[in-house]
Amino acid sequence: MPVMNMVQALNNALDEKLGADPDVLIFGEDVGYFGGVFRVTDGLQAKHGLTRCFDTPIAEGGIIATAIGMGAYGLRPVVEIQFADYILPAFDQLVSEAARLRYRSNGEFWAPLTVRTPYGGGIFGGQTHSQSPEAIFTHVVGLKTVVPSNPYDAKGLLIAAIEDDDPVIILEPKRIYNGPFDGHHDRPLKTWAGHPMAEVPEGLYRVPLGKAAVVREGRDVTVLAYGTMVHVALAGIEEAGVDAELLDLRSLVPLDIDAIVASVRKTGRCVVLHEASRFGGFGGELLALVQERCFDHLKAPIDRVAGWDTPYPHAFEWDYFPGPARLMAALRRVMEY
């Protein structure tokens, strides 16, 4: 079985879908001849032709609007927004149009588009290339939001997203795009990404939207994470020496509430870890859900570890997002409560 990093796995998923379904086409800024600034669409135009994978004007709203129209016609467009930070000019199209088309037309029209976008920090991208905007999507009724944490899931989730009849946003954690990331401000240089390269099967397979993965079984505390933070969580759990259960949510909407509830009822403790800033973040929703459904089983208050509530700072990037040390502190807090 071939071994791939996440970029290669995503490229492979697109390649397979282009080959299997003539209604799939790909467009976005620089995705055609050049193959994308992160190389996710590398070689696809040359292999499948100009009309299957092509460049667009620099107009994110136009990209999403065009994809919605194509979806309404009956195609399955897959678009790339070059950085998640650039998605805001397209926000109205996502919120007011893609998310509501099926509802407001009583099912006459729908928008089966897939929006791929690299997100998150750790590559010295500054404020406009580093943000984690998942919460602004998960709050929008009618959008689905998924976040892979390893190459296998990235391919399977992308294929499932393309085949889904609703608009799906895939946030691709660019910090683990190409393999292991190294070092952190609060630790000596070390490789944390447990599975930067992975065996990725050939052919079409799906990781279903709405199913979490148990990355590590444990009895004492449940850690909820997604994307890059799954790897930070693994490192933090190992270094803290607690018997924690780690859930990789993989899909924020639809959310695998059953897996979360089952785990927290088993462990009685819960820590949420995400890279996005804390206030109003998706972690708040997770805390509320756990509190609503597991209160009688909780042995300690639910805790959360997240990015700070500041704009994303260039020089302080690695002070900004959570590392294993902050998770370890939280794990100790809930264990010692």
Binding site: G61, A65, P77, P89, S96, P254
Partner: protein, 409 residues
Amino acid sequence: MDNQPRLTLHIPEPPARPGDHPDFGGMKLPKAGETMRPDVDAAEPTMRDMPFGMIRVLDDGHRAVGPWDPHLDVDVLHRGLRAMMLTRAFDDRLFRAHRQGKTSFYMKSTGEEAIAVAQSLMLGARDMCFPTYRVVGWLMARNYPLLDLVNQIFSNAGDPLRGRQLPILYSARDYGFYSISGNLGSRFGHAVGWAMASAYKGDDRIALAYVGEGTTAEGGFHEAITFASVYRAPVILCVTNNQWAISSFSGIAGANETTFAAKALAYGIPGLRVDGNDFLAVWAATQWAAQRARLNLGATLIELFTYRAAGHSTADDPAKYRPADEARQWPLGDPIDRLRDHLIALGEWDEERHAALQSALDEEVRAAVRAGEAIGTLGKSKPDLASMFEDVFKDPDWRVLEQRREMGV
């Protein structure tokens, strides 16, 4: 600095406000038949004066003249007249229904009926219109059931959109009518994407989209035209310049500086300016643009020059911001009167038949409204409450299922 004039901020104002005499003196209108008609496959650089002319066919004597005369069958003219009259009868009746508290909102297309009706009749059944809220004439021309429109406006148990949309934000896929949303210009790009998809699939269907002149300031307008130009999308992009965006006159959207059709110049696509109150001119320009689209020659921008004779919606009073009789002074007249007079000039119509048709259409509308009222007006009857939770996604997720149970439906 000493020898320089002080800077001044310019705020455009319309030539007349309430209490003034309507003033259309600054308007330059070419005569009917005067504006050239390029060959359908002519190169765009050869027609760059088109945005500053105006395609007009009906002259002051109600005759069809000039190179843009589409030579329509009398039958088509009769169908057009009927649909326009039905649109107005419907508007008048449903506007009154709003005043009687039977619905929350209504918007009339009075004065603009020729646009939607001519374009609806001209385009094919498999083409797709990406409408605004002022083109119900599209549906009238295609015999969409009046009762369904009434039910949508009343949000009652028979509402085809099950109470999810403001009155008149229709969706009618089978009639080539895309779902309307309240965000202006947001669907312009959908039309371009839909047209690109048709081209990608080697289909023969084209798209037509509308925005108002005020919406040409939205980013979505420019993004859509950029995409349409770059990919030569088979789409007809229409700007309905009805002179007023709620209370803001067209100068606020840039009309004092250039025409809206001239927006096409920067994108390298043809820009046509059309007398929007002339059924024949609208037809001819649309036909020209449709032929170009079907020949893989790409998009056309059409400015439909008209006048919004009624208020923006039931929520505003136009007499508060413009002369009360401005609509009657509009130099391009009334679209229904002009087509009626043309048919009369052809010897194919008369006042008596016109009055009889008017009565018949009024009765048709009254019957539809009565039928809708029997189902229920706003708040008196509702779609099944459980349907509120459907169509959020193709298949509901646990949130929707749980909350539906929580509500007890």
